[in-house]
């Protein structure tokens, strides 16, 4: 099957190289094992900025910002997108079906967890959960998709 919505297979490796370190660093930052407080502040362009939670905000301005979290976020999303949506070595209609199913699964699980947390988690910790949920759809998809492919490959070993 020919599909235009996926990246070529070679992007998968690039994706893993970006994705894995960004996930590890991301988790360590969340757990406060490493901090980027001393990361150099850079002048960036902001369409909207409210450093003090809406007390004072600005449109279309230049601000100083520690860009460590932005870099991490961009690395994580680009890495995950490349890993998730690069073609397999042998891409065919069956793999496409597994991919679609995994995507539906990932959406269900992610928003199931988010619903659960909305009901049972309160306070500022919920902000952490919202932040994680930005990345978790893709991560759950990658885990489920690769797990199914692995299971298929393994079950093939037993048959002729």
């Amino acid at each position: 099957m020919k599909t235009k919505v996926l990246f070529p297979n070679c992007f998968k490796k690039v994706g893993w190289i970006i994705f894995i370190p960004s996930v590890i660093i991301g988790i360590l930052t969340l757990l406060n094992v490493i901090q980027f407080k001393n990361f150099k502040e850079v002048t960036v362009f902001a369409i909207f900025s409210d450093p003090h939670y809406f007390q004072k905000y600005e449109w279309f301005c230049f601000i100083k910002n520690n860009i460590s979290d932005e870099i991490l976020c961009i690395m994580n999303i680009i890495g995950a997108i490349l890993v998730a949506f690069s073609k397999e070595k042998h891409e065919d209609e069956y793999i496409a079906k597994v991919r679609l199913e995994s995507l539906v699964w990932a959406i269900y699980i992610n928003f199931g967890i988010l619903l659960f947390c909305t009901i049972f988690v309160y306070g500022t910790f919920f902000l952490n959960i919202m932040m994680i949920s930005m990345f978790s759809v893709l991560i759950i998809f990658i885990i489920r998709f690769n797990f199914i492919l692995y299971k298929l490959k393994k079950s093939l070993g037993n048959e002729k």
Binding site: D92, E93, Y94, K97, L152, L156, E159, K160
Partner: protein, 66 residues
Amino acid sequence: MKNNLRVERAIKDITQEELARHIGVTRQAINSIELNKYVPSTILALKLSKYFNKSVNEIFILEDTD
């Protein structure tokens, strides 16, 4: 839907791997079709039909539940 893929393959004496390579799909796809876990697209069904030189109806059979 049932299918005779495994039988046809046995008649031609080729493995899933070889059939997959001829048709241009993964071995997983052939395996899942044989296990009735996956209904192939019309294109794939026609390719299989062409390869085995049999009509699609001889390889794939509708069931009452379909």
